[in-house]
Structure formats: structure tokens, C-alpha cells
């Protein structure tokens, strides 16, 4: 089953490059996403039903942690594919006009876009399925390379700049993770643990501690760069703001999680080797620092897609914080990963509609959105409440659980700082969202009425409903899966 899960998007991706017609290619994208989701559901089902690992080879296999992140990725891609089809249809109608200087730009060929999208899915699936740290590294690097053409879909100068920064910073960052892998291998050299996750976990107690620490540091910096942990986050706002909305959604919702998975794998090995305090300390410090960075940059933000990007940095910080605190916070981290992915993807989808309506990404030039595009405005506002953690939502629950854990650990300073920066972020984002949604709207000359494309809004609405439901009631199977995933992330088998 894992084989077909990996091969399906790979084969479809190659096919998408070769296909000529746009319509069948879009159908291919849709059906691949649906089939992938179905297979994922099947994997999750067998995982929960049998409770044992579906291992096909030494390379690929699924534990609960991998399955959980695979689920997020697949669900997100399903929504993204539906959005992408509607988006590509509308892109074909409007030739691109640069919002900055008004120059006309072209888009990348649709075959390249769709093909890369599918291959991107394949590489992310490989990340979640990797049972070998070396292979995990190679897959994460592959995600960078395959998503770079996606960011450069609109062929203008700013997206090119963003693509270049993304490519270079992430590639160099990931190269450091390779160093981490080497350290990890050296730590287990005497015991013959290799780099395979199972072997490392089994022999964790025998690993050389100082080398293991070095390995974790490098892996953290490497995958942290990809995950958008401050201060290695500099590529993230640029890439998220310049990519098409669907790509931003996938980057933010799926790709960052994949990098987080890399960190969690390293964390699991270290925790099992008795270094939980060391790794926890690092995760907490950098998590909090990401929160601070996001809060500060949020206040003066003038671009709403960049604002969403900083919000992603914030949530990655929270995830790292949760992982660092451990215990119940790790579970909260899992819930946060799921809810953030869905909410942020929904918000990016909505931002695509906002952009299509307003033709600008500047916050100060958008107001009174509800008069022109009421459904978009409603989703925009709903997304705001969800992402800032208003109850009921999965994000509220995860943020609350992390706070609870911090207080339970008697870390009052941390809890206080955490609350303070969350409040700051709320204030910063409230200003933007409320200003954009309400207020008077000056009709621009020659503006055509905006027909809100249902295909672009439906996935966002569906995701938001899921998040709200997760805040109200977590089904038993999901609860079990997240618990098992949290256990895996803390070094349990």
C-alpha cells in the first residue's frame, strides 16, 4: 500500500508533464488527490485497526507519527487540488498584471505547475514514510526543489526573487541537516545503530551523548530553516507572499509540517537516549523566539499574505514550544499541527479570492470587502477568529493545552510571555482583518462586479468547519492517532 501511495503521485506527476490538454490534466490532478486521500485513509485505518507498523522495506514504513502527518498532507492536498482546478480556470481568463508596477507577466506552463504540484505531493509522502534518516533528508530536500518552480508560477521579478531566496536558504539549511545526519551516524558508530529510525530508537541508550547533542543541533537548524523557525525563517514571508495562494497553502500547511516531522524524529531519538531536557530547552527557546519575531513583524505589516506567513511562523513556534515542553503539550502540538494546517490553508485560499477581487496585496488598499465579496469576507473573518485561537477551534484547544502544560510545569515566566505575545499577535491581526473586512469602500473606476468563484471558497469553508469540529469534539480514532503520534515523537515506539 505504501508503494502505491508513493508511486501514484509520482506517476501522475510525470504524466502531467507529458499531457497536452489542460482539462484532462486538471482531472488527473483531482483524481490523483482523491485516490491519494483514499489510500491514506486506508493506511490510517489499517494502522489503527491492526496497531502494528506497515513495513514494506527498510526504507519506507509508517509509524503513528508518520501516518498522522501523512493524513494532514493528504487532506490538505485534496482541498488544494480542488482549489487549484478552480484557480487555474480563472487564471486562464485573466492574463496576469503585476500589482506593483502594472507590467504584464506570463504564467509558467500549466503542465509544469500541475506536474510539480503532484511531484511535490510525492516527495512529501516520501518524507512522512521515510524510516531512514538519510532518506528523510533526501526527501525533504526534494520537496524544496520541487516546490521552487511552484513559487515561480507567476513569472515576475518579485516571485523570482522569492524563489531564489527560498532555494538558496533552504538548500543551505538542509545541507546542515545532512551534517546532523552524519553526527547521528557517528554517535551510533560503535553500536552499529545505522541511520534507520527503528535501529536508532532501539539502541538509543547506547548512543554517544555529545555527538547526539551535536546531531540534534544540526538537524534542528537544518529542518528548522525549512520549518520557518526564527531566526532561520527569512525565506518564508517572501515565498508565501509571492507564490500563488494554493502553493502558499501547501507550503504553510503541509511542507512546514514535513520539516517539523524531521525535527520530531531527531527529538524522539534524543528523548529515548535521555536527552529530553536538552532538546526540550532548545525547542522552547527557539519556539518562543519565533513567537516574538512573528509578533513584532505582525505589528507593522502592510501586506496581508506576508501577515499570514508571519502567522505561520508564530504557529511553528507554538508547535516547537509544545514539542519542547513535552508531556501533554506534545499532544497539543499534534492537534495544533492539524488545526493550523487546515486553518492556514483555508486562509490562504481565501486570500487568493481577496487578491482576485481587489488586485492588490496591500492591506491599506483593501477595505469594505464585505460589500464587494460577502462570502469571501465572511470566510476571511472566520479564518481570523480560528487562527488567533478563538474557541471553539482546534487551535484554541492546542494553544490552551500548551499553556496548561507550561503552568503545570511551574514555568510561569514562559506562560506569561507566551500569553503576552499571543495577545500581541491577536491585536496585530485584528487590526488587519477587521480593517479589511469592514469599513467604507471607495469604488475604483472601471471595476467590474466580482463573481466569487465557488470552487475557490468551498475548500476553505470545508477546512474551517473541520477545525471548528475539532474544537468541539475530537473523534476517538483521531484522539488515539494523535496520542500515538505524540508518543512516537517523544521516543516511544
Amino acid at each position: 500500500m505504501i508503494k502505491s501511495l508513493l508511486l501514484l503521485p509520482l506517476a501522475s506527476g510525470v504524466m502531467a508533464f507529458l499531457m497536452r490538454g489542460d482539462a484532462p490534466r486538471r482531472q488527473l490532478l483531482l483524481w490523483t488527490a482523491r485516490l491519494h486521500f483514499l489510500l491514506t485513509a486506508l493506511v490510517i485505518y489499517t494502522r489503527l485497526a491492526s496497531g502494528e507498523q506497515a513495513e514494506v522495506s527498510a526504507w519506507f514504513g509508517y509509524d503513528s507519527l508518520g501516518v498522522f502527518f501523512l493524513g494532514i498532507t493528504s487532506l490538505l492536498f485534496l482541498g488544494a487540488s480542488h482549489y487549484a482546478v478552480a484557480y487555474l480556470a480563472s487564471e486562464k481568463r485573466d492574463p496576469g498584471e503585476d500589482f506593483g508596477d502594472g507590467s504584464i507577466f506570463t504564467n509558467a506552463p500549466e503542465a509544469v505547475f500541475t506536474g510539480c504540484l503532484l511531484l511535490f505531493l510525492a516527495s512529501m509522502t516520501a518524507v512522512t514514510a521515510s524510516r531512514h534518516m538519510g532518506l528523510l533528508w533526501a526527501s525533504v530536500e526534494a520537496t524544496t526543489l520541487l516546490s521552487a518552480p511552484l513559487i515561480y508560477f507567476h513569472r515576475h521579478r518579485r516571485s523570482l526573487e522569492a524563489t531564489w531566496k527560498y532555494l538558496l536558504i533552504c538548500s543551505v539549511g538542509i545541507a546542515l541537516a545532512l551534517m546532523g545526519n552524519l553526527f547521528l551516524g557517528a554517535a551510533g558508530l560503535k553500536t552499529g545503530a545505522g541511520l534507520d529510525v527503528g535501529g536508532l530508537l532501539a539502541k538509543a541508550a547506547l548512543l554517544d551523548k555529545p555527538l547526539l547533542k551535536a546531531a540534534f543541533l544540526f538537524l534542528f537548524v537544518g529542518y528548522g530553516t525549512k520549518m520557518g523557525i526564527s531566526p532561520f525563517h527569512t525565506w518564508l514571508p517572501d515565498a508565501h507572499s509571492e507564490a500563488p495562494a494554493v502553493v502558499s497553502a501547501l507550503l504553510s500547511g503541509a511542507l512546514l509540517n514535513c520539516a517539523f516531522l524531521g525535527i520530531l524524529r531527531a527529538n524522539a531519538v534524543c528523548a529515548r537516549a535521555g536527552l529530553a531536557d536538552f532538546t526540550g530547552g532548545i525547542l522552547v527557546i527557539f519556539g518562543l523566539f519565533s513567537l516574538v519575531t512573528a509578533a513584532l513583524f505582525m505589528l507593522g505589516q502592510r501586506d496581508y499574505k506576508r501577515m499570514l506567513a508571519y502567522s505561520s511562523i508564530e504557529h511553528m513556534g507554538i508547535l516547537a514550544l509544545g514539542a519542547g515542553l513535552g508531556g501533554g503539550a506534545l499532544f497539543a502540538s499534534m492537534l495544533g499541527a492539524l488545526s493550523h494546517s487546515l486553518t492556514k490553508a483555508g486562509l490562504f485560499f481565501t486570500s487568493g479570492s481577496v487578491l482576485a477581487s481587489e488586485k492588490t496585496k496591500r492591506i491599506s488598499e483593501v477595505s469594505g470587502l464585505w460589500r464587494r465579496a460577502p462570502r469571501t469576507a465572511a470566510l476571511w473573518l472566520a479564518g481570523f477568529f480560528l487562527i488567533t485561537g478563538m474557541p471553539p477551534s482546534g487551535i484554541f484547544l492546542s494553544k490552551f493545552l500548551i499553556l496548561k502544560e507550561a503552568i503545570a510545569l511551574k514555568d510561569y515566566w514562559l506562560a506569561g510571555a507566551y500569553l503576552f505575545f499571543l495577545a500581541l499577535l491577536f491585536a496585530g491581526m485584528a487590526r488587519v482583518f477587521i480593517g479589511m473586512t469592514f469599513g467604507e469602500r471607495a469604488a475604483k473606476p472601471g471595476e467590474k462586479p466580482y463573481a466569487e468563484p465557488g470552487g475557490m471558497l468551498a475548500p476553505a469553508a470545508a477546512f474551517f468547519i473541520c477545525v471548528i469540529l475539532a474544537g468541539l469534539f475530537i473523534p476517538g480514532w483521531l484522539n488515539a492517532l494523535m496520542k500515538a503520534a505524540a508518543l512516537n515523537a517523544a521516543g516511544g515506539i
Partner: protein
């Protein structure tokens, strides 16, 4: 044979230093290619006894990729971008070389502090760390996009040598996957450089500064 391997290591460090002072892009590309080839041959030199067929095959792949394919790709990117042929460093050459030497001192110190397994080839750990640092130096202090790709490759060379020093033998499949990734990275970066030169009429990354948080909104005006 170890003296020979040591000589090779010294040669790699000298290549680092010459990269720090090399002024012309094509010369830099050749130096990086040479370094990659030397690093690729290193395991054959350091090994005692007859090398395995697997090691020979792998070395051949590395030499072919780093010695022929990468320089070709980069030379093509350089020609197509019509860039000025020098690297235009942001700091002076003596400063570069002093930074490199400083890095080597720090790397030696670090290499002696790290609780690494005993290596039988002296200086291999400091040399690899210094190479990685040189890569960072190229990325941060050279303004041309091609130099940054070169810096990435130098970092990759350094990490490869570091892996040799630690005796971490990754399975063939992983090694090949890593190589494939590096290859695709260079390929994609090469395409990006081509687009940058077409869009901006230069490949000077210091001028890719439209995207930031503070001067947002002034673009195009």
C-alpha cells in the same frame, strides 16, 4: 598511503584558500569542480588495500557529476546570463583569505574538541569544517548568483569530506539520493539564474531586495 591522503587534504584546503581569492567566475567554477573531484577520489586514497567495486563505482559517479556535469551546467548559466566575468566580492580578497585562515584555526580547535572517532588521516575534520566555512563565505560575501551556487557546492563537498572523516557509511541508495538532490539543486538553480538574468539584466543578488517588511509598497515607483 596516508601521507598521500594527507597531501590531498592539504590540497583541498589550498583550494579553499584559492577560492577565497579567485577573482574570475570561470576560474572559481573550475576550482570547485577540481575540489569535488579530489574529494570524490579521497575515499579511494584513504582506504587501505584494494578498494571495493562499490566504492570505485560511487567515486566514478561523483567525479563525473562534480567534475563534468556541474561545471558544464554552471558555465552554461554563466554564458547565458552574460554576466561580468568576475565575482565582485563584497569584502576584499585579503579579508577573505584571513577569514578563511581564521576559520581553519577555529575548525582545528573544534576538531580537537569534538568527541569524534579517531581518524587515521590527520586534519580531515578541520579541513572539512574549513571547507564548509569557505562555502558560507562564498555565499555571504559574493554578490553573483553563480557564486552562491558555488558556495552551496563547496558546502556539499565539505560535508562529504566530513562524512568520510566520521566513517559514516550511508547505504548506497541514500548516497545516490543525496547526489541526485544536489544535481537537481544545481540544475534548478541554474535555470533560476537564467531567469534572473533575463528578468533583471544582471545576476547580482545584492540587488534582489524588493521583498522585505519595511519598504513594502515602494516597489515599481
Amino acid at each position: 598511503m596516508h601521507t598521500f591522503a594527507e597531501l590531498t587534504i592539504v590540497f583541498i584546503v589550498l583550494l579553499d584558500l584559492s577560492l577565497a581569492v579567485a577573482g574570475s567566475l570561470s576560474y572559481c567554477i573550475k576550482l570547485v569542480a577540481l575540489q569535488g573531484v579530489v574529494a570524490g577520489l579521497l575515499p579511494l586514497l584513504a582506504a587501505s588495500g584494494a578498494p571495493h567495486a562499490r566504492a570505485v563505482l560511487f567515486a566514478a559517479v561523483i567525479v563525473g557529476l562534480k567534475g563534468a556535469v556541474f561545471p558544464w551546467l554552471l558555465m552554461r548559466a554563466r554564458d547565458k546570463s552574460g554576466a561580468r566575468k568576475d565575482v565582485e566580492p563584497l569584502i576584499s580578497y585579503p579579508a577573505s583569505i584571513l577569514l578563511c585562515l581564521g576559520a581553519f584555526v577555529a575548525a582545528s580547535w573544534l576538531g580537537s574538541r569534538l568527541p569524534l572517532p579517531e581518524t587515521h588521516v590527520a586534519w580531515i575534520v578541520p579541513a572539512s569544517l574549513a571547507t564548509i566555512f569557505t562555502g558560507f563565505l562564498l555565499i555571504t560575501t559574493r554578490s553573483k548568483a553563480i557564486s552562491q551556487v558555488l558556495g552551496y557546492l563547496v558546502i556539499e563537498n565539505g560535508i562529504y569530506i566530513f562524512g568520510l572523516a566520521l566513517f559514516v557509511e550511508q547505504p548506497m541508495m541514500v548516497e545516490l539520493a543525496i547526489l541526485l538532490d544536489v544535481f537537481v539543486a544545481v540544475f534548478v538553480m541554474g535555470i533560476a539564474i537564467f531567469h534572473i538574468s533575463r528578468e533583471f539584466d544582471h545576476i547580482d543578488t545584492a540587488e534582489l531586495s524588493e521583498l522585505n517588511d519595511w519598504r513594502r509598497g515602494e516597489y515599481g515607483k
